[in-house]
């Protein structure tokens, strides 16, 4: 039940207001207010990240290559995004999609990332990562998380995060390579499955069987280099 501004002209006029309900004068006013709020929150967030040493104080030029950023950085971003989502009661992936577009209007080049389409939004991945404890998030590189969230089956199945949390908590020694292989196996195995018809137990049993079938490397290859 919210309206969100997702695009602005250079002169400040609003091009689009996204809303899950018919736009009333009140909804427009609320959207403008949220937009202002986001502007402040994102600026504050970036300052905080710089203060904690997670972000470079210098702004990279538009289009220049940027540091990839670690899981800790994006977890911190996701935590703030999660707070906004809860505060404004944004229910569903579609409303979140609008929120990420709105935040893109205010974020600096330091935390914005290239547009990979509406199903692969950077801020959505940050938001999902923040659903996991920081210690777990940091156990993998950001690239592994992106690989995992990119998976169609994971994207459409929010319970995947819950299962993963349990798995990573139970097995602290999971290495990156195994995690990547698991994601590959997951994609292969349930590519043609609609997991929404499975109960939690059935879904988790399925994930478990894929996990069990994932080969673990005998040792980390980098240790031999």
């Amino acid at each position: 039940m919210v309206a969100i501004i997702t695009e602005r002209y250079d002169d400040g006029r609003v091009k689009t207001l996204r809303s899950s309900v018919a736009l009333t004068a009140d909804a427009r006013a609320a959207a403008e207010k949220l937009d202002h709020e986001l502007s402040n929150r994102v600026a504050t967030l970036e300052k905080g990240l710089v203060a904690h040493g997670l972000l470079d104080p210098a702004l990279p030029p538009v289009g220049a290559s940027k540091p990839r950023g670690g899981a800790a950085l994006w977890h911190a971003v996701g935590t703030e995004l999660d707070a906004i989502v809860k505060e404004y009661d944004l229910r569903g992936a579609r409303e979140r999609r609008w929120l990420w577009e709105a935040i893109n209007l205010h974020a600096s080049e330091r935390i914005r990332r290239v547009n990979r389409g509406r199903t692969r939004q950077h801020f959505e991945y940050c938001y999902r990562l923040a659903q996991l404890p920081l210690s777990i998030a940091k156990s993998m590189f950001w690239s592994e998380w992106v690989y995992f969230f990119d998976s169609l089956t994971v994207r459409e199945e929010p319970r995947a995060d819950r299962w993963l949390l349990g798995k990573l908590k139970a097995d602290a020694g999971i290495d990156r390579l195994t995690f990547r292989r698991f994601t590959e196996n997951l994609n292969r195995r349930i590519r043609k499955t609609d997991t929404s018809v499975l109960t939690d137990d059935e879904l988790f049993a399925l994930y478990d069987s894929i996990w069990a079938g994932t080969d673990r490397p005998r040792s980390n290859p980098s240790e031999h280099e």
């Binding site: 018919a22 389409g117 199903t119 609609d194 929404s196 018809v197």
Partner: protein
């Protein structure tokens, strides 16, 4: 002794008509018009006459008209041997199969239909020379030449009225120089070095325009880039008093990279053997390229081209190039000399394509190129890898379908949405089917008891049809009649079951080791086939493995307008899906219909409806989906463009054949938000085992609105079975069936205008007034011929 009757050595030829005919040949696709033909013929003559290692060159120069003297276009080759040979070579003394010797270049140039069996250049028929006269408003050309021995020669050829004229003997030396100056108002001077010049006197306007606009230079680059690249051949076009423009490699080719990188996808294969009955040939090089999306490739460079002796001849018609790269995909194929010569025998007179693409060796070449192209596209993820025979056939059908959609679009046939909506239909299904032991693997003595066929009337009126139920086997034909042909009446929205039926497997008529179909067939009062539904069982024979266990299709929907366009506030109502279990197992499934944003990797927009269905073996049921309402607030982020209405069925229970959650079937019907639809006609192919007496194929409406259609192929028809060993043949077969059925569909959709245009009917000829014979001859045959011509010409 009877006296010999008086004879003439040759009938009178109307040369003006012959010239017109030549011109038409160059104007008819795949040829590209007179200017393109002029450069192609002139340069191939010059390239074929090059003298050893001497620097070869070719120039086109346009001399403007002067007071009272027409413009001149000269086509000059240098570094060649010139028009050598005897002044009075006796061509008449040669035998029927003898060519004019290759050193008698003057005689070859002056004779018609003589190319002299050229081995170093691409000239073949000796007919292209006429194009130069055809390119002259005065139908006149001069040809002068400095031979390698230093002789200077000048000839003139002109066509007046019906007659052909040529100097009886070329002029020589000073006389030739004087005549040249006179004929050209002094604008041309004799050639200083060995070579030949053809001068088109008073060129036709299209040639003048092409020369001045740069189109001629572009045509040269497109045709001759191979010799420019390999030999640094110098070819230039000059419009006096301007400077010469030298032809280069087409810019769209980039640097013709041989490896992928920097956004290019490339494969370059060399020395690929091509085995034919007559021996082994070699494809010297096959180079396929896809530049990055931001690069565009000109229409005339797109696709795969085959070359001969350095010249681009024509296109190798490849199927299944995905739409997203079809405006960038290009490449070329170079053949070894023996293969070039073998393929040359199939070239058209104007050297722009192949006249008999289904014959060897071109056919084999095309197949090789298709295989390599498929492999390339699979490697870069643009085409699905085919793991099974079924999948391979399905892909062939997809390729054929994409090709046909493109051709129909090009020919101006409207895509979906232009036809009148077809009302909802009758639905036929088997019900209460319960196999002994839960499997359709039966044995003699078994009985299938108490099943029925169910006819559901989704129309808005009572329907009267005839039904009949029988069993059949592929080789034996019909085995047993379970319900004789009976008329039945079903009220609107109602249904009717046949009486409970039983099949007892006793001999006769049943026999072990056979696959039997049990079919219910609907016909109208005249016995015209309406539809059928079958289920199968195997007697003491292991069932064939299936590649799918269910089918889901949009059976009807009430679109607000004649297209699949939906705007804000529109509703799509009456959405009915038909879900059919194709297996012998009971099936429990959840059907979910959603809208997906096509451009954004099918991002979810909203769920339209869902239901759970339980089906017996081979049973079909309907899913009445709630209306799809285009609520502005929901669809505003899409703005406009393609949206997919997708319904899928996921298994709610595991069986021996599938897992719980497995997607059993899917139906995707695109619609277009706030815009008119793009092009599309055939949406897919289905397969059925109809046996030799059933038609090879038939069309079936995919959405019950008559907007998109699916082709049903009879995979047990002998004609289809004949294509089994050859993918290319099978692809062509599927294409031809689709092309043929297109006519049937257009007729059913009452597309009179489209058909009349395609068949080039006179305005006075109305489709409805044509007799059946004329409809077949003047419309059906003509349209199919046109579509097939476009397909095989590439």
């Amino acid at each position: 002794m009877k006296p010999e009757p008086e004879t003439t050595s040759a009938p009178t030829v109307n040369w003006a008509q012959l010239l017109e005919q030549t011109k038409r040949e160059y104007e008819q696709p795949p040829a590209r018009g007179v200017p393109h033909g002029v450069q192609k013929e002139a340069i191939q003559n010059g390239w074929g006459a090059r003298a050893g290692r001497r620097a070869w060159g070719f120039s086109v120069i346009l001399h403007a008209e002067t007071d009272g003297h027409p413009a001149l276009l000269t086509l000059t080759d240098s570094g060649t041997v010139g028009l050598t040979g005897d002044l009075h070579f006796n061509v008449a003394a040669l035998g029927e199969d003898e060519n004019i010797p290759s050193d008698q270049r003057l005689a070859r140039f002056e004779a018609m239909y003589e190319s002299g069996g050229e081995t170093s250049g691409p000239g073949l028929f000796g007919r292209g020379k006429l194009i130069f006269n055809a390119a002259s408003k005065k139908r006149t050309i001069l040809y002068d030449s400095r031979t390698k021995d230093g002789d200077y020669r000048l000839g003139i050829r002109w066509i007046r009225g019906r007659d052909y004229h040529q100097l009886a003997t070329v002029m020589l030396g000073g006389e030739a120089e004087k005549e040249l100056a006179e004929q050209t108002d002094g604008r041309l001077v004799p050639l200083a070095e060995a070579g030949t010049r053809i001068t088109i006197v008073d060129p036709v306007d299209e040639l003048l325009d092409a020369t001045r606009s740069g189109d001629l230079l572009q045509s040269i680059e497109e045709t001759w880039w191979e010799i420019i690249l390999k030999y640094d051949a110098s070819i230039s076009v000059q419009v006096l008093p301007g400077k010469p423009q030298r032809a280069g490699i087409p810019k769209d080719f980039g640097s013709l990279p041989e490896k992928s990188g920097r956004g290019w996808h490339v494969v370059c294969r060399e020395n690929i053997p091509l085995r034919l009955d007559g021996g082994t040939y070699r494809v010297k090089r096959l180079h396929l390229l896809i530049p990055p999306p931001k690069n565009s490739v000109g229409d005339h460079l797109l696709g795969l081209r085959f070359h001969r002796r350095g010249m681009v001849v024509g296109r190798v018609n490849l199927s299944g190039i995905p739409g997203e790269i079809s405006d960038r995909f290009f490449g070329y194929v170079l053949l070894d000399r023996a293969l070039e010569d073998a393929v040359a025998g199939q070239e058209g007179l104007a050297h722009y394509g192949i006249t008999s693409p289904n014959r060897s060796p071109y056919r084999n070449l095309r197949q090789l190129c298709q295989t390599e192209s498929d492999q390339f596209l699979e490697d870069i993820g643009l085409k699905r890898r085919t793991s099974s025979a079924e999948e391979r056939v399905r892909r062939l059908a997809e390729d054929a379908q994409a090709d046909l959609n493109k051709i129909l679009s090009r020919l101006g046939v409207p895509g979906f949405g232009k036809g009148r909506p077809k009302p909802a239909q009758l639905h036929l299904s088997v019900t209460q089917l319960d196999f002994p032991r839960g499997t359709n693997l039966l044995t003699m003595g078994d009985e299938i008891k108490s099943f029925a066929f169910r006819l559901e009337n989704a129309t808005r009126r009572t329907e009267r049809v005839w039904w009949r139920v029988f069993t059949s086997e592929r080789d034996t034909g019909e085995l047993e009649t379970l319900v004789a042909r009976t008329q039945v009446s079903v009220r609107a929205g109602g249904f009717l079951n046949t009486e409970d039926l039983t099949i007892a497997l006793t001999s006769p008529p049943y026999a072990p080791y056979t696959k039997v179909a049990c079919t219910c067939e609907l016909t109208d009062d005249d016995g015209v086939f309406l539809q059928r539904k079958s289920f199968y069982f195997y007697i003491d024979l292991k069932p064939e493995p299936a590649d799918r266990w269910a089918e889901l299709r949009l059976s009807s929907a009430d679109w607000p307008r004649d297209t699949r366009r939906l705007d804000y506030s529109d509703s799509l109502t009456g959405i009915r899906y038909e879900f059919e279990n194709l297996s012998a197992e009971p099936m429990s499934a959840r059907l979910r219909a959603r809208t997906l944003w096509a451009r954004e990797s099918n991002a979810d927009i909203e769920e339209v409806g869902a239901t759970d269905l339980q089906l017996g073996p081979f049973e079909g049921k309907m899913f009445e989906c709630p209306p799809l309402n285009i609520v502005r607030e929901i669809y505003e982020e899409v703005g406009g463009g393609k949206v997919n209405l997708r319904c899928h069925a996921a298994a709610l229970e595991a069986s021996a054949l599938w897992q719980k959650g497995q997607r059993l079937a899917e139906s995707t019907v695109p619609f277009f938000l706030n815009m008119d639809p793009g092009y599309g006609f055939w949406e897919g192919t289905d397969w059925h085992e109809g046996g030799p007496s059933e038609p090879r194929s038939e069309p079936r409406a995919a959405d019950a609105g008559g907007r998109t259609w699916r082709l049903v192929i009879n995979i047990t028809h002998p004609a289809y079975l004949q294509t089994e060993a050859d993918d290319q043949r099978r692809r062509d077969y599927l294409f031809e069936e689709m092309a043929r059925q297109t006519i049937a569909v257009l007729l059913r959709m009452s597309q009179e205008d489209a058909l009349a245009t395609l068949a080039a009917l006179a305005k006075s000829e109305k489709l409805v007034d044509l007799s059946q014979a004329d409809l077949i001859e003047k419309v059906a045959y003509r349209v199919v011929d046109q579509v097939l011509a476009a397909y095989y010409a590439g």
